[in-house]
């Protein structure tokens, strides 16, 4: 069953544990620059927003990739980069509207949220329990839509225009 990572913004306190655990899981060291998730903080409002790949239903990254190196994982539904196929042209990075992909600073590789094979570390280790993985069944789609209703211009892309 396809899955998505959903965040409850009310719960996020901006501790950046997710960034560190993400880096640790993928890179074996704690360096936020190597994380697949970035927390944007609005100090004055006391509001924090973790930004990460939304595993769009019709992803532009996949569409622009000339090497056909980006594909959807049939198990989790995450968009993955086949690093062997990748030719490093970075078109995916430039095409993604939400900055969901980046180039690893030293390893010369495209990095992005891969949903940790369906069991994301951020979900497990967030002290506030702000993250949640939901299956993309009818209820999941609805919750996802609610979650991202606010930025309607990107809505179609992420949900594939389907309810």
């Amino acid at each position: 069953m396809k899955k998505v990572l959903i965040v409850n913004l009310e719960k996020c306190v901006g501790c950046r544990t997710c960034e560190l655990i993400c880096s640790l899981t993928h890179e074996r060291r704690c360096n936020p620059a190597e994380a697949r998730i970035t927390v944007i903080k609005f100090e004055e409002k006391g509001q924090n927003i973790p930004m990460y790949c939304q595993q769009c239903e019709t992803p532009v990254c996949e569409a622009v990739c000339p090497a056909k190196a980006i594909y959807r994982d049939s198990l989790t539904g995450a968009m993955l980069v086949d690093t062997k196929r990748c030719i490093g042209c970075r078109m995916c990075i430039l095409a993604c509207p939400i900055g969901g992909l980046s180039f690893h600073p030293t390893r010369k590789e495209i990095i992005k949220c891969d949903l940790c094979k369906g069991d994301p570390a951020c979900v497990k280790y967030c002290p506030e329990g702000a993250f949640e993985v939901v299956s993309l069944d009818a209820i999941g789609v609805k919750r996802r839509r609610e979650n991202i209703r606010k930025f309607s211009s990107y809505l179609d892309m992420m949900t594939g225009g389907k309810e």
């Binding site: 090497a67 030719i87 042209c89 970075r90 078109m91 509207p97 900055g99 606010k150 990107y154």
Partner: protein, 250 residues
């Protein structure tokens, strides 16, 4: 499914694979320099050479170009293969003595020094840059020129190509690091291609983040209404989006 023997072990594989792909699948390591999954087999570097025995006849062939056929036996490291591969690496080491990947390969195969005439090139003519640019990026900014001993990779007339996007895929796939990309503030320089391209400045933070033609190319793909974020660097895209989520325009 096909049954074959590789290095003494039996293996069963689906049809349509090359010996190299099969070896990788089952964890047998065969060195190669000119193979890349995105463009497939080319057969130029000859390093992935293996011994294939079919109907009692043994021949040396490059594993990348050899289709797996039922009943064949593959030896990836027989004496004959080792001898041949060593001499080929000796040739490459003379051509590109400074390339780390060649040095490593030489060390791995026990080649201590080369007896072949030294050339001091950086490029081994694997053609990955040419093939990626032609077949994948589809702009064909660089190509092979001349032939024989004078063969080289270059831009037409050895001046800046008017179609290069500056995407840097050529440098990314280059096994020897012969193609170097230098990003200096608002310019991207690729010396190998006699090329210098302007970069796009992020509308928000002012950082130069993409060569101009590359971003134009993405615009041309016209996948969706992109104009409102394409002028932003990926970091600012996250910020701007977060702001929108907060319900406010910056």
């Amino acid at each position: 499914m096909l049954k074959i023997v590789i290095d003494g072990k039996e293996a069963e594989v689906e049809e349509g694979l090359s010996v190299l792909e099969l070896a990788e699948k089952i964890g047998v390591k065969i060195p190669t320099l000119c193979y890349h999954p995105a463009v497939g087999a080319y057969g130029a570097c000859r390093v992935c050479i293996v011994e294939v025995i079919e109907k009692g006849l043994s021949k040396l062939t490059t594993s990348c170009t050899c289709p797996v056929e039922s009943g064949i036996e593959v030896k990836t490291n027989s004496e004959k293969v080792k001898k041949t591969r060593k001499l080929i690496v000796e040739m490459l080491l003379a051509r590109c003595p400074d390339a780390k990947i060649i040095q490593d390969l030489a060390k791995q195969l026990g080649v201590e020094k080369t007896r072949a005439p030294q050339k001091n090139e950086n490029c081994i003519l694997c053609g990955l840059c040419v093939r990626i640019c032609r077949e994948i990026i589809a702009v064909d900014a660089v190509g092979f020129a001349n032939r024989g001993n004078k063969r080289k990779v270059t831009t037409p007339f050895e001046i800046q190509s008017d179609v290069c996007l500056g995407c840097g895929a050529c440098a990314f796939v280059c096994p020897t690091g012969a193609i170097k990309i230098e990003d200096v503030e608002d310019k991207r320089k690729i010396d190998m291609w006699h090329t210098e391209l302007g970069k796009v400045k992020c509308e928000r933070c002012g950082r130069y983040f993409s060569p101009v033609p590359l971003l134009e190319q993405i615009k041309k793909k016209g996948l969706r209404e992109m104009s409102d974020f394409l002028g932003l660097c990926p970091d600012c895209r996250r910020l701007v989006l977060a702001n929108k989520l907060m319900g406010r325009e910056e």
